[in-house]
């Protein structure tokens, strides 16, 4: 018998060898061990995550970045704060143009539409400079006005601003503008929205800020500026969900004598 034949015989013998059955309870032991392994893995994951979080938090606290990190986390986690809507009585979808009509009702009379001189992206650095002296005198001096006044003191050139301002500062500015808007302090709100847009010209909330700013301009009776601000919304270039309202407002601004329906 050659070596190869011997090997083939040995292979066949090993193949045919009786291997025996599984020991009793092997399946049960395996399932128990698998369950323990799964629990251990879950525990390890939780502990690792907790340790990682603790490490990040302690590092942030040690470097004085904790509040900023928390604010950034809130900005990411929290739902987008909707821009304040002007409370318009009886606003209904049933009557087209009702929104514009109501908005115009409390708007001072304004001259006929002029050609827009600036796009909304080019926010005036100092909104107060565009306000007539009469408006400035008639406006009551409230705490909010003083706050806005401080912002007027040191206008900053757009070019000098960083592209992205720190999130917490921008959010704070957004809230200030929101509050002033809700209090119908149109002049102060206008300045505050302008300030926010200087900080975050292309942020997530920038379209809402521009829309609110345009509303302020309408309320203040600054027709030309309002039309320029509303134009991108009416054309659908920005904030498509305001397109219909913007178109109605533009129509109302163009024909102030005709009641909008």
């Amino acid at each position: 018998m050659t070596d190869d034949e011997l090997l083939q015989r040995a292979i066949k013998a090993l193949r045919d060898e009786e291997l025996g059955d599984a020991p009793a309870g092997a399946r049960h032991r395996m399932l128990q061990a698998a369950g323990r392994a799964r629990k251990l893995e879950t525990r390890q994951t939780v502990v690792t995550l907790a340790l990682g979080l603790a490490l990040v938090a302690s590092t942030a606290a040690a470097t004085g970045q904790l509040q900023r990190a928390v604010a950034a986390l809130k900005a990411v986690v929290a739902p987008v704060v909707p821009a304040p809507q002007v409370v318009v009585p009886q606003k209904s979808n049933a009557r087209a143009g009702h929104y514009a009509a109501n908005l115009m009702r409390i708007t001072p009379s304004m001259p006929a539409c002029a050609t827009p001189t600036a796009t909304v992206a080019q926010v005036p650095v100092d909104e107060a400079a565009a306000v007539s002296p009469r408006e400035r005198e008639s406006a009551p001096h409230t705490t909010s006005d003083r706050h806005v006044g401080r912002m007027r003191v040191a206008p900053v050139a757009l070019e000098a601003l960083p592209e992205l301002a720190s999130t917490d500062e921008a959010l704070q500015q957004f809230r200030v503008a929101q509050r002033l808007h809700a209090q119908h302090q149109w002049q102060a709100a206008l300045a505050a929205w302008g300030k926010y847009l200087q900080l975050v010209p292309s942020g997530e909330l920038a379209p809402e800020a521009r829309w609110s700013r345009a509303q302020c301009l309408v309320r203040l009776g600054r027709g030309a500026a309002a039309q320029a601000a509303l134009q991108p919304f009416a054309s659908g270039a920005e904030g498509g969900y305001h397109q219909a309202d913007a178109a109605e407002l533009l129509q109302a601004l163009a024909n102030p004598s005709e009641p909008t329906q």
Partner: protein, 188 residues
Amino acid sequence: MWWRRSPGPVLDELSQRLQSGDSVALGQAYDLHHAAVRAFARRLLGDADAAEDLVQDVFVTLPKAIRRFDGRSALRTFVLGIAVRHAQHHQRALARRQRAWRRSGDVERTHSANPEAQCGENELAAALARALEQLPIDQRAAFVLCEIEERTAGEVATIVDAPEATVRTRLFHARKKLREALEREGLR
């Protein structure tokens, strides 16, 4: 190009349930494949207890290992691949233990060959098992899978996660060494 590749095969239901951590599916996978894994482990390690430990290890780690299973091979092939990797660990541990026994003066298992004797099939199988133990684990796995379990070289390549040519080379060397070992034992 990777973006032109066709999507991978769809996983079967059992694999999907295993990937979702279903413990009942683990029991079913054990019922389907434990015999194949046990037989392979017995032939590969040559020791019933070590083989039983290996089977346990394979199925305990299956829920974690199955996450990287893409369904391109059969589940049994994938499970045997886990067994090969665990066997390598077992083998290293066994080698350490054997070195410790030698140092402590334990007598190694010896075999008294009878050169002129016509051996029976059982003796022949035992001789081959002893010879297999002397092979490196990679060659041993290739030999057991190809020759004893009669799997194709392509399937074995998938199981041991090596190119098919490598598997053939390992098989060639294994056969050569085994022939020499049987000859040394004087079996006819």
